[in-house]
């Protein structure tokens, strides 16, 4: 996967860096819209980036 900083990614999908950070840490579950934007950006399917956990 191409190296990209949180700040760059944040700018590309127009959210704040804190949001990217919170998602990476699993502290924030993004909206469907944001998940789809991420999938388009990384050219992956949403399920390849996010997955259901036991507690969900």
């Amino acid at each position: 996967m191409a190296e990209i900083s949180q700040a760059d990614l944040a700018e590309k999908i127009s959210v704040s860096r804190q949001t990217i950070n919170a998602m990476e840490k699993g502290k924030y579950i993004p909206s469907t819209l944001l998940a789809l934007k991420l999938a388009v950006f990384f050219k992956k399917r949403v399920e390849e980036i996010f997955e259901l956990e036991e507690i969900d």
Binding site: V15, S16, Q18, T19, K27, S31, L33
Partner: protein, 158 residues
């Protein structure tokens, strides 16, 4: 992202500039038991007015010291702008934090009111009711900015 019900970001600073001084002025007045009623006497239109031991009057013009009205209007407008203007990095996470802070503030405010109802009596309860005019807004703003600060800190610590 589309955000509903929020003011443009430029109003946020203006909100703080109104909110802090008017809140400070109100705090000083309340704790010093200073009475504003005799100042800034003006004619105001009243939908309803009642003086002690007099019949209520409807849709009439009365004399009233408008200092407290001005102060409360400033607190409410300043607070609304400070709490409900877009942040410069507004996105879905900050919107979620805003809504959660609002729910938290509602619970906290009514918990405070429950306690005040049970344990504060007499004229002081009037003070409680007066503070309740803007306490929810106040608790919301505190909670919202504390949560934003924590979020910022958790990212910066990396």
């Amino acid at each position: 992202m589309k955000t509903r019900f929020l003011f443009p970001a430029k109003f946020r600073i203006l909100g703080w500039l109104i909110f802090i001084p008017s809140l400070a002025a109100a705090a000083i007045l309340i704790f010093s038991d200073y009475n504003l009623d005799n100042y800034l006497q003006s004619s105001v239109f009243a939908i309803i007015n009642s003086d002690i031991l007099a019949k209520p009057q409807y849709l009439t013009v009365i004399k009233n010291g408008i200092g407290d009205e001005i102060l409360l209007v400033l607190i409410l407008i300043g607070g609304l702008l400070a709490g409900f203007s877009k942040l410069k990095n507004e996105d879905e996470l900050t919107s979620q934090i805003r809504y959660e802070s609002l729910v938290w503030a509602a619970y906290f405010n009514f918990a405070v009111m429950l306690v005040a109802t049970l344990f504060i009596y007499g004229l002081y309860f009037l003070n409680v009711m007066m503070l309740n005019m803007f306490s929810l807004l106040f608790f919301f703003i505190i909670r919202f900015y504390v949560m934003l600060y924590r979020l910022k800190k958790s990212v910066d610590e990396e």
